[in-house]
């Protein structure tokens, strides 16, 4: 490979920022104390954890004691949804969520359904938006939690969280949002969004893997997922991941400093990529909302070709992306999100997701624009779905 590799899969994970690594190192080396210990080793670790907690809380308009550190987005989703289902058992047994949630939410709801909880899966429109009115209509006197994601990980659509939050409040129903894709990328204020619970993960914002948070609004009772020690005010037992939490704190600090410039810079590059691909390659469509979308997400379908072939061809050019094609999923099912927004199966097959990051340059985007037409053309020439002359 003579050209530099181009990583456009930041929604999967991001490179850990050097500053984050620097911040973590002391806690992997000398400062190895257990934050629960009373001696100075422990207290040093505890101080670092609490500094990170304060930093992160202020970033999202929360109080430090409302933040529970977890192992990541999946655990936070499981903790909040199962925890509410259990703690509010006597109040009801109905959950409302959407059909395009991350599997961490959908599979958790499905697990609870098998335990006798009833679940309403709301549809979305062709752009991937949940209609707040649908949420209102779905609420019953048995509803204990509404869980709607902030930004969709596949198609990038940003949901009307504040509007749904108002409805949830009117009805006195707790409201959770999975903000894994938006946290550190667009402004988040838990009061403005009117959420009671929120999930986030450090590795999506140049932090380390294996650490995330559950925001739990003051006064909200929740049953823990992990039982054991007294950590996190008995809301999550387990020795604190001190280096991870410190890294998370530093990653949030960096995101806070660069978020505004980065989101407009990345949006411009994203639009350049979308426009370029749509204009240079026929029979191509954009998936997700044209405007209400994550600054770093472009998801497109290329008719007549299959995503894995596209992905492998781009990888041969040193460009890393992801696809919603059935062929690359272990279940051999096409993406549930593309299905929910009504993308026909063959088009879902030929979908690619490009997700930009802080390290993405205009040259990177132009390189994608340069190689994509040839790649699609080559695969289309092999495709029996292309009638002679249908695609040039």
């Amino acid at each position: 490979m003579d050209t530099k590799p181009i990583y456009l899969d930041h929604a999967a994970t991001t490179p850990v920022a050097p500053e984050v690594i620097q911040a973590m190192l002391p806690f992997l080396e000398g400062a190895y104390g257990n934050a629960s210990s009373l001696h100075s080793f422990g207290q040093e670790a505890k101080a670092a954890v609490e500094a990170a907690r304060t930093r992160i809380a202020s970033f999202m308009g929360a109080r430090p004691e409302e933040i529970v550190f977890t192992s990541g987005g999946t655990e936070s989703d499981n903790f909040i949804i199962k925890g509410i289902a259990l703690s509010r058992r006597d109040r009801g047994n109905h959950l409302i969520t959407s059909s395009i949630e991350h599997h961490a939410v959908l599979e958790t709801c499905d697990f609870l359904r098998k335990q006798g909880v009833s679940v309403t899966l709301l549809p979305v429109d062709s752009n991937g938006l949940v209609d707040p009115d649908d949420v209102r209509k779905a609420i019953t006197d048995k509803t204990i939690l509404i869980s709607i994601m902030h930004g969709n990980n596949e198609i990038g659509t940003i949901e009307p969280i504040a509007e749904i939050g108002s409805i949830a409040r009117e009805h006195g129903v707790a409201f959770h949002t999975d903000a894994v894709q938006t946290f550190g990328h667009i402004p988040i204020d838990v009061d403005e969004l009117k959420v009671d619970f929120l999930s986030a993960s450090a590795h999506k914002l140049h932090g380390p893997k294996g650490v995330g948070l559950a925001y739990i609004r003051k006064g909200m009772k929740i049953t823990p997922l992990l039982h054991g020690g007294d950590q996190e005010k008995r809301r999550r037992a387990s020795t604190l991941n001190v280096p991870g939490i410190v890294g998370f704190g530093r990653a949030v600090e960096l995101a806070d400093a660069s978020m505004h410039t980065e989101s407009s810079r990345q949006s411009a590059l994203r639009d350049r990529l979308i426009k370029g691909l749509l204009s240079s390659i026929g029979d191509t469509r954009l998936n997700g909302h044209p405007v209400r979308r994550l600054p770093n997400n472009a998801n497109l379908s290329f008719a007549f070709v299959e995503g894995e072939g596209l992905l492998l061809s781009l990888d041969m050019e040193g460009i890393a992306v992801s696809t919603g094609s059935a062929c690359t999923s272990s279940s051999l099912e096409p993406s549930h999100v593309l299905k929910a927004i009504g993308v026909p199966v063959e088009l879902a097959h030929g979908s690619l997701r490009f997700t930009l990051g802080r390290d993405t340059t205009r040259e990177d985007i132009d390189r994608v624009l340069q190689v994509m037409p040839g790649i699609v053309h080559r695969l289309r020439a092999m495709s029996p779905l292309v009638r002679k002359g249908a695609v040039s």
């Binding site: 894995e308 492998l312 062929c327 097959h349 495709s383």
Partner: protein, 129 residues
């Protein structure tokens, strides 16, 4: 860039440079097969002379393994008699490619089925069962 992708070098070679891509002008038999597992499609056309497959072409809408197995099956049956071609199994195709990831074995079935369907079509045109 990725040295240890999902496929070995031989599979990647056939994906990169597939042999016998396209459609024959005047085929003696054309067959298609659809993959019920993931919904992909393969099409094979053959030209037969004196019971020997003189030429063969394929087109595939499918993953890297589907493209590579289509390409390999065309290589394996070219200049073979119809009976020899019928003896080519999906396992033989996968083996000739140096193996496929287990989850991709079903893609090689597509190659075998498309070939059989092309041979069936050839026989039908010949008026043979």
């Amino acid at each position: 860039m990725i040295q240890n992708g999902p496929y070995n070098e031989k599979v990647m070679d056939h994906f990169r440079n597939p042999r016998n891509v396209g459609v024959l002008e005047n085929p003696d038999g054309v067959g298609t097969a659809g993959n019920p597992v993931c919904g992909d499609i393969m099409e094979i056309s053959i030209q037969v002379e004196d019971d020997v497959i003189k030429d063969v072409r394929f087109r595939t809408f499918g993953c890297g393994a589907a493209i590579a197995t289509s390409s390999m099956v065309t290589e394996l049956v070219k200049n073979k008699t119809i009976d020899e071609a019928l003896a080519v199994s999906n396992r033989a195709v996968a083996k000739a490619l140096g193996g496929l990831p287990p989850i991709k074995m079903h893609c090689s079935v597509l190659a075998e089925e498309a070939l059989r369907s092309a041979i069936d079509d050839f026989r039908r045109r010949q008026g043979k069962p």
